[in-house]
């Protein structure tokens, strides 16, 4: 992006949209870094009007310490060596002789401590992106440039300790990836630094701003991966050479398949759904999955579609089993034709070609997968996702006419746990921002906006977890709203598709009516092209399909509500009932 393009992006922002305020904390003059940061954020948040403000020159720590006063949604911190001690910058006249270097190291350590404390002290709702020094240390140390000096190593050590401490609160720019995207030699502009105060070349200011913007507004990770088997998960055609002969090792020239298995096994453990679509004999595939040296165990995969029919159909069935959309899923295959056929029938599917003979392309593919599925934390809910879907097949087998039988529901030993004081649970916002089908209005929230909503004095937030004799589903529903004068207001309500057909949505409403002694609940319903299940449920209560916000009376709900068999546990009950 050029400065001109950035200015045009900023100019085209919707003037009346809700503001997204980002604070750029840096010790230098922000200039184009601020312009590019605004533009990249504006591109990623087209429905918002992005405003970037900056702190005082030479006072990065102070800017972070006072950040909460301006209530930004995000803070982008661009740290440079001169922020740790001005003598490490080019604009200072302070000497850097061997005798003062120990003092510089000590001052830098103290400043890192101060900045870390400032970051840790930021209100929880502010998202933080941190870039560690991206420019080389100045040539003030006693060794030749090709050799590290003791002082440089001490500075790096302290910086890494600082970064690992801050990682609990801030998203930190991966310096190795940034090195690839913006080579070090093309970053520093000394003339610009000395005359204008900005140390970066325009090209690097753009690259760093883009990276910071990506960390401030991370893309939703993909939820599922469907993989081919032959010459993808392993080397060789299992139907021709047999399960014992397919390979994924160095000796068999199949190490790239081993690396792929490692990545896929890791994704599975992180909660990514893994399915198989392969044109093969299912019995042969089953025997291949019995091999104990396979890095991706059969228990990590569900479902397996192995037959000779079109893969597009397999993928449709897998998506139906997972109950997620094609745009949340990645399909990996070594055949461009199979990929084309799959995406033709499943628009939105992200197709990735497995490059069997190109090691460089193979590594790029593995990195792309990591980027597509990258998430900041792995929760307990992630770990049980695949197993709960596998168990859901038992539930599906008992569905008659679109509903589970009364006897099945009554004997499921279902327990619903409603937590009325779970505002700090990151799973709540994660669920709100990724759920499509059972979603009251499809509205998404930035973390800071969400935190502000749930911190209002009249706010209500309920997270709902579910378990039955087939196993736990984890936290599967979130309700957010406020106590109104005439009715309880529900502004956000989502439920995981894994929890359908168990009357959990009915129990959610009963919980709300009971907990708040509400005579009516007002729903901020908005029909979307994907929330049909929500609309159907609400129609079953109201008798007619809602087209927008509406109010449900308690008497009407009681009349329409079927028998509920769950055992209900309420957490933080005392806070709810005062």
């Amino acid at each position: 992006m050029t400065v001109t393009e950035a200015l045009k992006v900023i100019r085209a922002a919707p003037g009346s949209a809700a503001e997204y305020h980002v604070l750029l904390a840096c010790g230098f003059t922000p200039l184009h870094l601020q312009t590019f940061l605004t533009a990249h954020l504006q591109t990623k948040l087209p429905a918002r009007k992005v405003r970037a403000s900056a702190g005082l020159f030479g006072n990065l720590a102070g800017t972070i310490e006072s950040a909460a006063q301006s209530e930004p949604q995000g803070i982008a911190i661009a740290l440079e060596w001169g922020d740790l001690d001005p003598r490490l910058g080019y604009r200072s006249a302070g000497a850097v002789t061997p005798s003062v270097v120990p003092d510089i190291v000590e001052q830098a350590r103290e400043m890192l401590e101060r900045i870390a404390a400032a970051i840790e002290g930021l209100p929880a709702g502010i998202r933080v992106a941190l870039s560690l020094p991206s420019l080389p240390l100045p040539p003030f140390f006693h060794t030749a440039g090709t050799q590290e000096s003791q002082a440089e190593l001490l500075l790096e050590r302290d910086l890494m300790e600082f970064a690992s401490r801050c990682a609990a609160r801030a998203a930190i720019v991966n310096r190795r990836r940034l090195d690839e995207e913006a080579p070090c030699a093309a970053r520093h502009d000394l003339k610009s630094e000395l005359i204008a105060g900005l140390p970066y070349t325009t090209v690097f200011a753009d690259a760093l701003a883009n990276t910071l913007a990506r960390l401030l507004t991370p893309a939703a990770p993909k939820k599922g991966l469907i993989t081919d088997l032959d010459n993808t998960l392993w080397h060789g055609i299992v139907g021709e050479i047999g399960p014992a002969e397919v390979s994924w090792d160095l000796a068999g020239h199949g190490q790239i398949h081993c690396l792929y298995q490692k990545v896929v096994a890791s994704l599975a453990e992180e909660g990514v759904l893994i399915g198989i679509s392969s044109k093969n004999d299912p019995n042969v595939v089953a025997r291949a999955f019995e091999r104990r040296d396979l890095l991706l165990g059969a228990d990590k995969v569900y479902p397996i579609e192995a037959h000779w029919n079109a893969k597009s159909g397999s993928i449709k069935r897998i998506l139906a089993t997972w109950n997620i959309g094609a745009d949340s899923v990645v399909f990996v295959d070594d055949s461009p034709m199979e990929l084309a056929e799959a995406v033709e029938a499943n628009p939105g599917l992200e197709c990735v070609l497995f490059p069997t003979d190109d090691y460089g392309a193979g590594l790029r593919m593995l990195r792309r997968l990591r980027d597509l599925f990258g998430k900041e934390r792995v929760s307990k809910d992630d770990a049980i996702r695949l197993e709960s879907i596998r168990r859901a097949s038992v539930v599906r087998e008992n569905i008659e006419g679109g509903e589970l039988s009364e006897a099945f529901l009554a004997n499921a030993d279902a327990v619903i746990t409603a937590n009325f004081a779970d505002a700090e649970n990151p799973r709540a916002l994660e669920l709100v921002n990724k759920t499509n089908q059972f979603n009251l209005n499809g509205r998404r929230f930035e973390e800071a906006d969400w935190r502000r909503r749930v911190a209002r004095p009249d706010s209500i937030l309920v997270t709902v977890a579910y378990a039955d004799k087939f196993g736990p589903l984890g936290t599967i529903a979130v309700i957010e709203g406020a106590r109104g004068e005439d009715a309880l207001h529900v502004s956000a309500w989502v439920m995981s598709c894994r929890a359908f057909s168990r009357r959990i949505e009915h129990q959610c409403l009963r919980l709300l009516f009971d907990a708040f002694s509400a005579g009516a609940i007002w729903f901020d319903f908005v029909p979307t092209h994907r929330n049909g299940p929500t609309r159907n449920f609400l129609t079953s209560l109201m008798g007619t399909a809602p087209e927008g916000p509406f109010t449900l009376e308690r008497a009407r709900f009681d009349e329409a509500c079927p028998p509920l068999h769950h055992k209900v546990e309420i957490l933080k009950e005392s806070e709810v009932y005062g």
Binding site: V3, T4, L7, K8, H32, L198
Partner: protein, 82 residues
């Protein structure tokens, strides 16, 4: 309007979107309150983008009006861009 002048007007429009086009040709740091040091550097970059020409930071102090910038560019750009 000649080619250079036309393109320079576009640069000013990009950096100062609220300024009427009729006032651009007479704009200067004295008459335009939001032509501060940040705007001056931003304008320099937009001009660099438009003309694929590297401005010298040290010349910025003298480039304080549309007229002066136009003259500066006319003296340094190849004839084909004038």
């Amino acid at each position: 309007m000649d080619n250079l002048r036309d393109r320079l007007v576009r640069c000013f429009e990009t950096v100062f979107p609220d300024m009427p086009e009729s006032e651009i040709a007479t704009a200067s740091q004295q008459t335009l309150s939001n032509w501060d040091s940040v705007a001056a550097i931003t304008l320099a970059n937009v001009i660099e983008d438009e003309f694929a020409f590297q401005l010298d930071f040290e010349d910025l102090a003298d480039l304080d009006s549309f007229e002066r910038i136009q003259a500066y560019l006319a003296a340094r750009l190849p004839a084909s861009q004038n």
